[in-house]
Symmetry: C2
Subunit: 338 residues, 2 copies
Amino acid sequence: MNAQLDKTLDAVKCVGMESVVGASDLTFEHVLQARERIAPYVHNTPILTSSYLNDRIGAELFFKCENFQKAGAFKVRGACNAVFGLSDEDAKQGVATHSSGNHALSLSYAAGRRGIPCHVVMPRTAPQAKKDAVIGYGGLITECEPSTTSREAVFAEVQATTGAEFVHPYNDPRVIAGQATCSAEMLEAVDGLDSIVAPIGGGGMISGTCLTASNIAPNIEIFAAEPLQADDAARSFRSGHIIADDAPVTVADGLKVPLKENTWHFVSHFVADVMTASEDEIVEAMKLTWQRLKIVMEPSCAVPLAVILKNQDVFRGRRIGVIVTGGNVDLDRLPWMK
Amino acid sequence: MNAQLDKTLDAVKCVGMESVVGASDLTFEHVLQARERIAPYVHNTPILTSSYLNDRIGAELFFKCENFQKAGAFKVRGACNAVFGLSDEDAKQGVATHSSGNHALSLSYAAGRRGIPCHVVMPRTAPQAKKDAVIGYGGLITECEPSTTSREAVFAEVQATTGAEFVHPYNDPRVIAGQATCSAEMLEAVDGLDSIVAPIGGGGMISGTCLTASNIAPNIEIFAAEPLQADDAARSFRSGHIIADDAPVTVADGLKVPLKENTWHFVSHFVADVMTASEDEIVEAMKLTWQRLKIVMEPSCAVPLAVILKNQDVFRGRRIGVIVTGGNVDLDRLPWMK
């Protein structure tokens, strides 16, 4: 991300977030505001359990099913908070973003509900199902190469042309406050959680989870789950500074993007550990979830169960919230198909 | 089914069903008894909606998700009602059944919860995932050929050897009363339904649905949905008597079995229509459900949506309950895989 683009993260444009210029300014009050703001546009998603998985792991798992969320993923929470927080004046030129998929759907959905345009820069290699869905929600796609470098260059052009308000997929306090509503719902629905495990890509969901839990349930340990083949967050966590990889390759295609300063704030201050899983472990956990929970979810969502299965000594005996982040998968290209 | 086997449908062995010898003796009181009896062993499953599907069809669809049910299908309701309705004396020798899959899982689960043996005769061609699951629940499998004739012959042998109590997959008032608890839950959760659409194979779920609706919401029209390639129920409905096909071939493998007298009672008296869908229509509706509802369900469960999509003139403007009957599918053999 270049410095100019970062300046467009203009949090003061979100009504009720006038004093927020960075992640460290966020309070639980912002989460409550977000919850009220987005309530008409999102689901309070169900929480599923599996006695088979509980027995196998020796723990109690509560799966917060954001695959059932509007637009098929948790990202609609942050997108709606950003879009519906804009003043009428600021909303006029529409919104714009770059995304590996679900944020694009979500922002298109949110913009569509508000009746403003949404410009999306998307890797040409993104699953066709995701592109079709963006178009279905009225999003306007410009394609880029599947690398962070290309995406940012193409995006700068799109933004300069349209004058649209940039809503970053995760490095945006408005988005983080929106994602934080997910664990707020989970903590209301399930008592006595010991841990929450969520996937980590850019860190938006993990940051929102930290924002909520650190304020209202500070004893809960937050674990980030990451593909070993895109383990930049784990390496960042261990080294104490952001490490970014350009275009890593993993089946968990929602988790390829690097941390940024706003999400690094939460990862570095509030995360207990970043755990990794191999491609095979992710696919196995994905298939196991489909078989046992009977839900359609993305490979990215399987990384938490993969790390729990791999680190049973850490998780045994605990009550664990698991965030199933999205369900937008290409059914013709499931990772266990030959 | 030969006459001797039919005599083993000994409904008086189910406590509280002493006066029930056939389908026409069933009352809503039996449904309420079943509900109380099975409550500790089954889920009150969630109901999902899809604004995309509602918009596309011009109706309001409420999907009762029995794919999230214990043992992965609605059949656990009837199985538990039969197993937990047995006196201690009658339960001693265990239970036995023949099944194309889900009833086998369900009876194994129910018997396991009661701590009695469960003998299962299953076609050797049943999906391996279903066989594994039966074994996982402690069921004892004897294989037969994939035809009604072979299944009944092999079953007669097994029953003679073990002396186990026969619980037919559907032609049993105890089972029908158990299945009826599904629509009882749906009618509690959703007001003002105009129609309920459920798949029909042997007719257990449709019979239970008729039993509940005819007693507490008689204005609701019940539609049975059937594969065109196994349309014996549709032909029976039109001709006024049971027509049975031996070993029809359809992707909806839970719907191959014929009606029997107890289910024919409900189909002939209470069903508004039996509608059929082609194999392609079923697979398309299945994929659409996975994509839009983000749930894993069997091909059989897609037949209701397939007939709704095909008969939009009948269903437009209605509030429609759709019963998603089960989620036990072999993920390595999905019907849209090449």
